[in-house]
């Protein structure tokens, strides 16, 4: 059994919890539908966004250089990181220069990808995730299970217990308002004592050298405004050519993510306040390699809205952690194999190829088609388990010969009739664990046709 299948099976063994998880995410998908349906030009917006990103990916080198130049003119320090190690070293050097020991961080999947938290903690730096969901999972010492809703797998009662243990809230109190207030008090202390703030980046504008950060909690702004140094970490695909293009993406992002017209805060950062320092770290970490793969390059259009997770019938039932990856769900399943084909070879198979992910994607990434293409790559690179290869090779040989097919078909139908249930429903018969096999008919269509239609 693949890692995903095993973890999914474990998650589903608590069916009540699976239903709750599925329902919570389906609710978010519904909110997205309602929100999108109110925009008559929704599909045009998606196509436009997709085309703008197409232009970005085709001219990425020029836009990156332009962005750096403009940002520098604004007095921003720009750094380039080829990989996660370089990214972490750059951030750590900036913090050391300012002797920063306490750092607040707003949501950034990139810093998750680079393992920044543990890297800094190992150097004795306190790094606090300030997004409420992220703080919850940080206190639980586990990775996010969703890119927008990182603690979606945790129930409020569990948050109550966690906060009681870690933040000293009343035992047994799981009231969301009470718990959120407690988190706010806790985080406010962290904001005020922070030596530096780190954020992710939603969009970077080549024309202006500015960046845009979208949050619902204002935590990125709290951090940047209170700390003397702010560092913004971005993947190199986050660029948009012009500020006017934001009009397309801002309309799509929050509607796709949660059904909101826009996030509560859409903050534009162009230059540091006087006396402060602003840094931008531009990270490759495998992205330019993905850009070079024709079949997979447009996965870099992703704006991290999470809509593909909310709609995915597998994700909703298997939980984000079943993907054992920084980015879970359908988009993760096409991004992660680029990082490590061997480690993530199970993910493109964690799908029925239903295509719902591609239909909700605000930048029209053909996710399910890329899943199909990754499967072909995985076979070519010998990462397909023998348990799959051998039966299918045998099957192909049977199917390639009409005679063999007819004989084997008859055998299969006869054996289904003759074999007692206990032989069919043994441990080897995964189909029959929770399902019956079809009752075999007395003759195949072909046999019937020969008898009845052959003149």
């Amino acid at each position: 059994m693949s890692i995903h299948a095993k973890k999914a099976s474990d998650f589903i063994s608590n069916e009540e919890r699976t239903n709750w998880h599925d329902g919570a995410l389906w609710h978010v998908r519904n909110k997205r539908d309602i929100s999108a349906s109110k925009i008559p030009e929704w599909e045009l917006l998606r196509s436009t966004a997709s085309q703008i990103k197409e232009n970005v990916l085709s001219n990425l080198d020029n836009y990156l250089i332009q962005f750096e130049e403009e940002a520098k003119k604004n007095g921003v320090h720009v750094h380039w990181a080829a990989n996660d190690d370089e990214h972490n070293s750059i951030v750590s050097a900036i913090l050391n220069k300012h002797n920063a020991k306490k750092v607040v961080k707003s949501k950034s999947m990139l810093t998750e990808e680079c393992g920044l938290n543990h890297f800094l903690e190992d150097q004795g730096i306190e790094i606090i995730d300030t997004d409420l969901g992220e703080r919850i999972i940080q206190l639980r010492d586990e990775p996010p299970s969703h890119i927008v809703l990182p603690a979606i797998h945790i129930k409020k009662e569990e948050v109550g217990e966690l906060f009681h243990a870690k933040l000293g809230t009343e035992k047994g109190n799981a009231d969301p308002t009470y718990l959120t207030r407690a988190a706010r008090t806790h985080l406010n202390h962290k904001f005020f004592e922070a030596d530096a703030a780190i954020t992710g980046v939603n969009f970077a504008i080549a024309e202006t050298g500015g960046i845009v950060i979208c949050t619902n909690e204002g935590n990125a702004d709290m951090g940047c405004h209170s700390a003397p140094v702010h560092i913004h970490c971005m993947g190199l695909e986050k660029l948009l050519p012009k500020a006017e293009h934001l009009g397309v993406f801002i309309r799509l992002l929050a509607r796709s993510a949660t059904g909101q017209p826009s996030t509560i805060y859409t903050s534009h950062y162009h230059k540091p306040e006087s006396g402060k320092e602003m840094h931008i770290v531009i990270v490759d970490n495998g992205r330019s390699e993905q850009l070079g793969k024709e079949d997979f390059r447009n996965s870099l259009k992703c704006i991290r809205c999470g809509a593909c997770m909310n709609t995915c019938p597998i994700y909703r039932r298997s939980g984000g952690h079943s993907y054992h990856a920084t980015i879970p769900g359908p988009i993760g399943a096409i991004l992660q194999p680029n990082r490590n084909l061997q480690e993530y070879s199970d993910l493109p198979f964690a799908s029925t190829l239903c295509g719902s992910c591609s239909d909700v994607c605000p930048v029209k990434i053909n996710i399910h088609e890329q899943l199909y293409k990754w499967r072909q790559e995985i076979y070519k690179h010998n990462e397909l388990p023998k348990s799959k290869i051998i039966p299918l090779k045998v099957t192909t040989n049977i199917l390639a010969s009409s005679t063999m097919y007819n004989i084997m078909g008859k055998l299969a139908r006869t054996s289904l009739k003759l074999l007692p249930d206990f032989l069919l429903y043994n441990k080897l018969n995964t189909w029959g664990k929770n399902r019956e096999l079809p009752a075999p008919p007395k003759e195949s269509f072909k046999e019937w046709y020969k008898k009845n239609k052959h003149e």
Binding site: A5, A8, T18, E43, P313, T352, L353, K380, S402, T430
Partner: protein, 248 residues
């Protein structure tokens, strides 16, 4: 128009659901088509390709082109297999036969709607019916409007079922969620697959459906497997059988 139609019967329908093949054949003949059935056909190669073994499976593709080269159209009762031919046969040499096959292969309902423009059916089906929209037909071929898309794509399934007398089409809570079959996914991810199937069935049951129908027998085979294990009275029937006036 009297079209010569090549009947494409997917392997699992041939072996396990011959009644679906018969209904397809009869429907086409009733609607004036001259139907030929190339008996050497086996399978479209989808099970291999979906598992990543397109390289192995594609040796079947060219023979499919050869088998159906004389037909005006090629029609099969399975959007999933039809989608595989039209969409994924791009990886072999595009001979005139393959080009013809890819351009002229239709799902049964798609053919009735797009080519025969069917407006009348002299059949009755007095049951509460839930339509399971198989994903390849829905999102791959847009035989209906996917719930995610803010478009107004006509429902080809809805149109043909609407021609059946006494049928009561039932609204579902989740109109087009995947059933979890997914080919080898059904076995490789057994836990998720059967959970998805149970959830689909519950939606039909909760909305008082008596018969689940679909263009894809593979989805129904999976759902029926679960229904039978649950010992439920819910029935499944391929859309071809309903349109052909067959009885439960």
């Amino acid at each position: 128009m009297n079209y010569t139609v090549g009947l494409f019967i997917p392997c699992y329908i041939d072996q396990f659901f011959p009644e679906v093949g018969k209904a397809t054949l009869e429907l086409l003949e009733k609607n004036g088509c001259k139907v030929i059935y190339p008996e050497e056909q086996t399978c479209c190669g989808q099970p291999m390709a979906n598992t990543g073994m397109e390289e192995v499976g594609k040796k079947i593709y060219q023979s499919m082109g050869e088998l159906f080269k004389g037909c005006d159209y090629i029609v099969g009762p399975s959007p999933s297999c039809v989608y595989h031919i039209t969409k994924h046969y791009d990886v072999v040499e595009q001979t005139p036969e393959i080009k013809h096959l890819r351009a002229h292969t239709y799902d049964l309902v798609e053919f009735l709607y797009d080519i025969l423009h069917i407006e009348k059916l002299e059949v009755s089906f007095p049951y509460r019916v839930g339509l399971h929209k198989g994903c390849h037909g829905l999102r791959g071929m847009q035989l209906d409007n996917p719930s995610e898309l803010m478009k107004d794509i006509p429902s080809k399934w809805g149109h043909v079922l609407g021609l059946v007398k006494d049928i009561q089409m039932t609204e579902l809570t989740r109109t087009d969620e995947c059933c979890g079959f997914g080919g080898t996914f059904a076995v490789a991810e057994e836990a998720v697959s059967t959970k998805m199937g149970r959830d689909r069935i519950a939606d039909h049951v909760n909305n008082n459906v008596e018969v689940i129908t679909s263009g894809d027998m593979s989805c129904l085979m999976h759902l029926k497997g679960i229904i039978d294990r649950q010992k439920s009275n819910l029935k499944v029937m391929h859309i071809a059988n309903i349109l052909n006036g067959d009885h439960i």
